[in-house]
Amino acid sequence: MNYIPHTKEDISKMLSVVGCSTVDELVSEFKPRLSELNLNNPMSEMELVAYMTSLSEKNSQMKCFVGGGSYDHYIPSVINHLVSRGEFLTSYTPYQPEASQGILQVLYEFQSYICLLTGMDVSNASLYDGASALAEAALLSSAYTKRRGIFVDAGLNPEYLKVLQTYCDGTDLVISNTIDENTACVISQNPNFNGEIKNPTGLIEKTHLNNSLFINCISDPTSLAIIKPPGEFGADIVVGEGQSFGIPKSFGGPYLGFMAVKQFLTKKLPGRIVGITTDGKGNEGFVLTLQAREQFIRRERATSNITTNQTLLALTATIYLASLGKTGLQNVARASYHNAHLLQEKLRKKGIDIVNTNPFYNEFLVKTPKSTEKIIANLAEHNIFGGIDVGDNKLLVCCTEKNSLQDIDLYVKEASI
């Protein structure tokens, strides 16, 4: 394929303006010149579509009863139509605000939605994904408290813990088992990895008595439609994964990290932030603000090295939340909750042990009577992706509004064999 518009005449005219006889001469500084390049023959669009489609067909799309950081929520049609608009899709970081009022307003709305949902004061305009947002929150806590210890409450997504550990190793922070004078922050996922809804009040009190910051991590934020928001419990930082808000599962990315804080941490936030200001005539408009925190100005003294974020996914989430509104988001959360509780109840009646004892949202753990691996394989034969094998014969199961009663019954039948 060819996305180069030049004709031969164009090229020769341009070369004469540049004062060069060949294009090769223009790139002669790049040494050593490579001798061979074993790439494929160029493909036409039709050949490319056939090749890539054949790769996509090697993946099986199953009915999804799995969460663990990626959720199979329904995506309203309107989202794709709006997100595909070239003015959004092909723009970049709004360095010239007057030419970017559209995306800036979207990000302002996104920040507002995140604050409304989490009960926090200020949100940034997105981070890479849930795991790295959590790691950035730990770095923020360390910068604010001038301490290096990170305490992680039980029930954090194990993949998030791995990413946190990597960031800690690289930046000289330490994950420790105690809350003490070195503790910068206490991290707690709610609902936790097993789906349980916890009351964080006691842990938050303990954290604040120790002058540490409390970080609440959320992996399926549709839960916020029915669970009391972390801001009301007293969390200082809320981070999480926004994939549930209209973003396809897409084998794990691109997703949407979010971070919201209480007022006193505003200037410590990493990443882009949009604010409202005025022009000389008093007309209101949107700009990137508090840029003095960022790497392109502060270099080695920046709050983070982050540059690009996930704006297009923030746009997706904003349109998702606008489309669903209060009524729709509550319906999604309630249906996810009811389906999960129905499936759990049906499995219990079939004699399968339920591990959760606390209230839960849309994920729960069961103890399988025989090999978890075999149950997953048996369900897969019926085109059901049945859960995450978390070891010790335990299976983590998830429901969303998309799981039909028929599929739930099929699940129960095939899981109980």
Partner: protein, 468 residues
């Protein structure tokens, strides 16, 4: 400027209605203050906002260092194929072979393009790739029991380089730029030593110039045991022409959204990647993909690995688009860079006589000129005025070492016609600047007009909140 929160309408039912849930009172949400808005209004609201936005689809978008090239639409369709978009990341690998193959094949192609021995596609963006590279360097030297505390970075570098070094608790040593626009070799010689862990070089550098002393820098770095890191943000200059590994680099990160044309999406998602030489391969993040008996598997047991960087495996949807892009070009890939370099040199030639030229050399895929000959604050005024003519401004006031800088990267997908039009408009604007300076000081003549960024930072308004 009506916000979405200012509508109050009947909701469009996207999923069925449900009865309330039985969550204990102390855990249950009382108020959810999201507006209900009908789909008709949602389409109009966001269509209207899209019209207030400028993209590559609108016109030339010559932001230096950002490689704003055309984003092939077929790649969008491919990424949306259900076999890619509807796959849960924890799907057992035997049922996600196509997904693993995408990652594997792209790694292979990037190895061929850069000459590196191994790649990780887990980083979500360029800056996270840098973070990975510096984490790897830190672990590598720690295991060798070498106490290296410094990272050498030229003063023309992207801000992410020093920011990343600082995150990993290294001391940044900044080397000035010499008269030809290269990292000053004499200053470099004073600083290179056994306490230096990494020399981070952007090639071509952010002035759009090939680092002429690269070979000597590499030799000195190697003699002193330091690693050579290439910030590959500017790889669009030499695809298929020269390999970074052959130039002496041990590591390189590529920004897939730049060089490999995945849409910038208003600021992201980007796509990162890190390529390394064999001796650093074991430090790459887990899981890594292996091929066993013609089947792809994840390998999580890498003892030396720095760990994991992403919730799952990286920005997979971006990897799909990047693979499609590389495969569409195949062995023709060097045409991209040749035309990118031709376009930059052509536009540079058209503008040389009007601006101050800090480094008068042939440029690579981008160039930096200065408006200091036109007076203080000319650059911001020119940039704002460009908007009035239906074009986007270049990157301005970067790199920091050039006063009144305009950093222009046209990319290969712009025609001669478009470049002529852009040069012409800049010439008209310079004339206006001399004859009607007020016209520029008040630009752009849009609504809203030039926005007060100082006020934005002093009187923070960062969210909508319901009236009490």
């Amino acid at each position: 400027m009506k916000l979405i929160f200012e509508y109050n309408q009947a909701n469009t039912k996207h999923t069925p209605e449900e009865k309330d849930v039985d969550v204990p009172k102390e855990l249950k949400r009382e108020n959810l203050l999201l507006p209900d808005v009908n789909e008709v209004q949602i389409i109009r609201h966001y269509t209207e906002l899209s019209k207030k936005n400028y993209g590559i689809d609108t016109n030339l978008y010559p932001l230096g260092s950002c490689t704003m090239k055309y984003n092939p639409r077929v790649n969008e369709d491919i990424a949306k194929l259900a076999g890619f978009s509807n796959i849960h990341p924890l799907t057992p690998v035997n049922q996600a072979q196509g997904a693993l193959e995408v990652i594997w094949e792209l790694q292979e192609d990037l190895k061929k393009i850069t000459g590196m021995d191994a790649f990780s596609l887990q980083p979500a963006a360029g800056s996270q790739s840098e973070l990975l590279g510096i984490m790897i360097a830190k672990k590598y030297f720690a295991e060798k029991n070498e106490n290296r505390t410094k990272i050498i970075i030229p003063d023309s570098a992207h801000g992410t380089n020093p920011a990343t070094a600082a995150m990993c608790k290294f001391q940044t040593v900044t080397i000035p730029t010499d008269k030809r626009g290269n990292m000053d070799l004499d200053e470099f010689k004073k600083e290179i030593g056994s306490d230096v862990a990494v020399v981070m070089i952007t090639n071509p550098n952010t002035l759009g110039l090939y680092e002429e002393n690269l070979s000597e820098i590499k030799n000195l770095a190697k003699e002193n045991g330091a690693l050579m890191y290439c910030d590959g943000a500017n790889m669009n200059a030499f695809l298929g022409i020269s390999k970074p590994a052959d130039q002496g680099f041990d590591m390189i990160h590529l920004n897939l959204h730049k060089t490999f044309s995945t849409p910038h999406g208003g600021g992201g998602p980007g796509g990162g990647s890190l390529g390394v030489k064999t001796f650093l391969e074991d430090y790459l993040p887990v899981p890594r993909i292996k091929k066993e008996n013609n089947e792809f598997v994840f390998d999580c047991n890498q003892e030396k690995s720095v760990g994991k960087l992403h919730s799952f495996y990286g920005n997979f949807g971006i990897l799909v688009r990047a693979l499609a892009y590389v495969r569409s070009w195949g062995t023709d890939i060097q045409k991209i860079s040749k035309m990118a370099v031709l376009n930059a040199n052509y536009l540079f030639s058209l503008l040389k006589e009007d601006f101050d030229v800090p480094y008068d050399r042939r440029c690579a895929h981008e160039f930096v000129i200065s408006a200091k000959n036109l007076g203080e604050k000319s650059t911001i005024n020119i940039a704002k005025r460009i908007t009035d003519y239906g074009f986007h401004a270049p990157t301005i006031y970067f790199p920091l070492i050039v006063k009144e800088a305009l950093m222009i990267e046209p990319t290969e997908t712009e025609s001669k016609e478009t470049l002529d039009a852009y040069a012409n408009i800049l010439k008209i604007i310079i004339k206006e600047l001399k004859e009607e300076p007020e016209l520029l000081k008040n630009a752009p003549h849009t609504t809203p007009g030039r926005l007060d960024e100082v006020k934005a930072a002093r009187q923070l308004n960062l969210r909508w909140a319901p009236q009490e």
